[in-house]
Point group: C2
Chain length 373, copies 2
């Protein structure tokens, strides 16, 4: 844990704002642009660590809110931090829980001091503050921690979005102060830009985050129901306001095509439940579009899911067998489907990095239709 966290840009695309780089962490290097599979409860659902490693996944995202409720920070502390608890020695980013508190609206009450909420597991009462969220993430010892933020739904009035954004800025400042007490440079804290779809609010939020000097800055509060065009307008406005030498993280996004477009605007990091959740629902990404594996046409189909894919699922199993497993509700359905979808995302990111390195991403971007929406 002696290495300092840092971000290094290794290539810029010629025609777009895309860049490739390396996040240097105490748990290994993470080439960017990176997609982080979501490991909410300290496991990427239905995917063994061994298989994640075989896909060369370098960083996964775990969730502070979920892990705070179960197994609880005391247990993880006793087991030597989250890496050791979950037996994962590559990089970890922990979400702060802001989004989870946002998505359980009926169970929480927000005050300037922090968030009162009831556990979605057992109804027990809890109070989280910007300071306690930092303290919990210190216990987890994730390589990248996130500030506590307040997230607005879509649509949201200007007044509400402004109040919420200002609260997020206050909380970010308190997080940064708390972080400074024990920061050793090995781990990083990222700020989060909020402000709904209002350009003025996004600008003010971005300026505040830059001023607070975070190691990286995320764009949050997107992909919450707004039109795609609004999401990209916010990104086009916000990204140029962020220091180009720091990593930029677009939270909770998205489809393969969203990711390709966002990389072109200069985003370095992504996370999304889409590949893993879709896999469990039998919705599979392929180089020729999405496949709903339950469809009867696959019942006797001996082809692999995607002939262009070299993942373990595609190398060995037929669509017919995958459909059978799905229809039978077998665990192996979730396992093999998740393996494929995560492989699809990670392969895509690798291709993106290679295109940027060869200054060809702009050209490559033109055939973006190859990626599923």
């Amino acid at each position: 844990m002696s290495a300092r966290f840092s971000f290094e840009i290794v290539a810029d695309d010629a025609a777009t704002a895309a860049r490739s780089g390396i996040l240097h962490t105490a748990h290994g290097d993470v080439p960017t642009p990176v997609f982080m599979p979501v490991a909410t409860a300290a496991t990427v659902k239905a995917l063994p660590h061994e298989w994640l490693e075989s896909l060369d996944a370098r960083m996964v995202l775990a969730n502070t809110y979920h892990l705070y409720l179960r197994p609880g920070p005391e247990t993880i502390h006793r087991c030597g931090g989250l890496h050791r608890f979950m037996a994962w020695d590559r990089a970890l980013l922990t979400d702060s829980g802001g989004y989870q508190i946002y998505s359980h609206r009926d169970l929480r009450r927000i005050t300037p001091e922090g968030v009162h909420f009831q556990s979605h597991l057992d109804g027990s009462s809890h109070f989280l503050t910007p300071e306690s969220v930092i303290d919990i993430q210190h216990v987890l010892s994730s390589d990248i921690a996130m500030v506590l933020d307040d997230c607005t739904p879509y649509p949201c009035s200007f007044a509400d979005a402004e109040r919420s954004m200002e609260l997020s800025v206050q909380w970010a400042r308190r997080c940064a102060e708390r972080w400074r007490i024990s920061a050793d440079g090995a781990r990083a804290l990222f700020g989060i830009v909020q402000g709904g779809v209002y350009p003025g609010l996004r600008t003010r939020s971005a300026e505040a985050m830059v001023e607070l000097g975070f190691e990286g800055i995320a764009v949050g509060g997107l992909s919450v129901g707004e039109p795609k065009s609004a999401m990209f307008e916010v990104l086009e406005l916000t990204l140029p306001l962020l220091p180009s030498c720091r990593p930029r993280y677009l939270m909770g996004v998205g489809t393969p095509r969203d990711i390709v477009r966002s990389v072109a605007l200069g985003v370095d990091m992504f996370d999304c439940v889409l590949p893993t959740r879709n896999a469990r629902n039998g919705c599979l990404f392929t180089s020729e579009g999405r496949i709903l594996i339950k469809n009867a046409c696959y019942a006797g189909d001996e082809r692999p899911l995607d002939t262009a894919c070299r993942c373990l699922t595609c190398r060995r199993y037929s669509r017919a067998y995958l459909r059978h497993l799905f229809m039978s509700g077998e665990h192996l359905s979730a396992i093999l489907n998740t393996m494929h979808n995560v492989s699809f995302y990670l392969d895509m990111m690798k291709e993106i990095r290679e295109a940027i390195a060869s200054k060809a991403f702009g050209k490559w971007l033109e055939c973006m239709e190859k990626w599923p929406e």
Copy 2:
């Protein structure tokens, strides 16, 4: 598929009836005594084929009844048989469905001709005969097929057990006749001894099965609620009536200790859902007894499940993490627990074979208490 099915005995224990051997199949050699993990719907629940192979599992058991209902023999035929359908090129045994028809008592009506039953999946009506069960298993192309049998519950009157046993003998004869039409020697058909807990009935059934000249003979209708002592009395009576040169298969049994005792009586083959079902319920076999992983005492326990075990689960993960996965209802809980329990069973069988080969099984049997009941 040119190799002939055969069974070779390679060692006899000095002090017991235990023996070790090799089942030569068209899909590889299977050292005995063997435990076959149960792959009811063409997958060992929650265990990827790759991991089964890493445990050196040589044969698994799939279920004719389940596969007949879903995906149906037409689909499996179109995909080139069960091995190819499920992408498993090691040996397969298919149960005939007799036991499943037995366990769905309220959905079936038995006549001398065959079994009328309703699908437990969608209520549709079906009729299976000894002949059709053989035909379906020809389509599946399993390395070992089983005759259709009728199984009685415990307790059961002598009259009912006798009627049922005689029906099973008639059905076995019809299966053997149907089998002869297309048998090429590459695959084997096994008979099944029935007769409840009645020595006279078991004897008559065993004699009939021997006379029909099956490649192997199973003992069925045990572990259906009778006392352990009754089960072992039946085994002690029945096994000596079977040709010693042919494999003997005890269906649906059992605990580690049951298996050790049965090997001592001369059983060569076993299957049971216990390791896989228990794994999903968080009940784990270890060299020091069973562990219920949900127990609070494991919440901060950094030790592996079983320090004597070298399986993937025990090499990497702590009890604390396994408990967390179980409490969170994560797929990875079923995956890692199943990996461990199946590894426990297969390691035990390997130790048993080695003990027999060194003529030391009798002595080894004395410390049988090391195996969980």
